[in-house]
């Protein structure tokens, strides 16, 4: 096998493993990958695109709601958090989902400062994940362009 392809494939395996080990992704991401097939070769990328669009929309909604200082509608913030928890859970975005669980409690407690801090963390976390997954897709592209096959990675 071409040494360059083998090196890229090893790099890819290690990178994927690190995403799971560092808690960025969980088993649901594995499930998502397993749904991708020849009939829908871009399924994972498409779903992730929907997810990150969702993040932009929901973080924006929450920021606007929290900007209403003194009259913050914590139910509305909580509703958006619930939505984000749902979609992050569906794509295996483990850290984002974890933050949403805390965020929901902060909304229920009407903890304004806590909510603002949590929203900042959510914003950072989804953008970090987006960058990491973009690197993953770039590695996949490099492997294919080098004439190789993107390996299945056993995370267990």
């Amino acid at each position: 096998m071409d040494a360059h392809v083998a090196q890229l494939q090893m790099q890819y395996r290690n990178y994927i493993l690190s995403l799971y080990q560092q808690g960025f992704l969980d088993d649901q991401f594995t499930e998502l990958k397993s749904l991708q097939d020849d009939g829908s070769p871009d399924f994972v990328a498409e779903v992730l695109s929907l997810f990150f669009d969702d993040c932009v929309k929901l973080v924006g909604n929450m920021a606007r709601a929290l900007d209403q200082i003194g009259t913050v509608d914590f139910c509305q913030v909580g509703a958006n958090v619930h939505q984000l928890k749902g979609s992050s859970s569906s794509v295996g975005a483990k850290r984002v989902k974890g933050l949403c669980i805390n965020f929901k409690e902060l909304c229920e407690a009407k903890n304004y400062e806590g909510c603002v801090r949590c929203l900042q963390q959510v914003d950072i976390e989804y953008k970090t994940l987006k960058a990491k997954l973009q690197d993953m897709f770039n590695l996949e592209k490099q492997i294919v362009q080098a004439g190789g096959i993107v390996p299945q990675v056993d995370i267990n």
């Binding site: 649901q28 499930e31 998502l32 397993s34 749904l35 097939d37 829908s40 399924f43 498409e46 779903v47 929907l50 997810f51 669009d53 969702d54 509703a79 619930h82 939505q83 928890k85 749902g86 979609s87 859970s89 569906s90 794509v91 295996g92």
Partner: protein, 134 residues
């Protein structure tokens, strides 16, 4: 069952995905596709009711709980009032006992906590006797 994905295309089962979240719509649609189950997708309970009013019927409905306009509990009740006998499985991230109880009492046949996976979906099909292993 590990690694085995049943192909139910021959069974000609049909399903309706009721969820307001585009990510979940996409994933649930694909999960059903993978099992060979033809499915439609709507974005809230009112659309689920409307699609049945237009004469469509499904073997299985995957019903989210929290949706705008008409939520899953309201939609389930309404569909049962209309005489819809399809199997309805509630699928939600909410898992508090009281919330699940209210959802079940609205007329669900089964309940699964999100995120949905192939094995959870197969479990729904087994529980609802929509799939018999040969």
């Amino acid at each position: 069952m590990a690694g085995e994905v049943p192909n139910l295309e021959a069974s000609k089962l049909t399903a309706l995905v009721v969820d307001d979240n585009f990510v979940n719509q996409s994933v649930h649609h694909k999960l059903l596709d993978r099992l060979g189950i033809k499915n439609d997708v709507v974005s809230n309970g009112q659309e689920a009711v409307d699609v049945h009013c237009s004469g469509r019927n499904y073997d299985l409905i995957l019903m989210d709980m929290d949706m705008p306009i008409m939520n899953g509990i309201q939609a389930t009740r309404r569909l049962r009032e209309m005489g819809i006998e399809s199997k309805i499985a509630g699928v939600t991230t909410r898992a508090e006992e009281e919330e699940v109880k209210e959802f079940m009492e609205a007329g669900l046949n089964d309940f699964q906590e999100k995120p949905l996976t192939i094995s959870k979906l197969v479990s729904i099909l087994h529980n609802l006797e929509l799939y018999v292993q040969t």
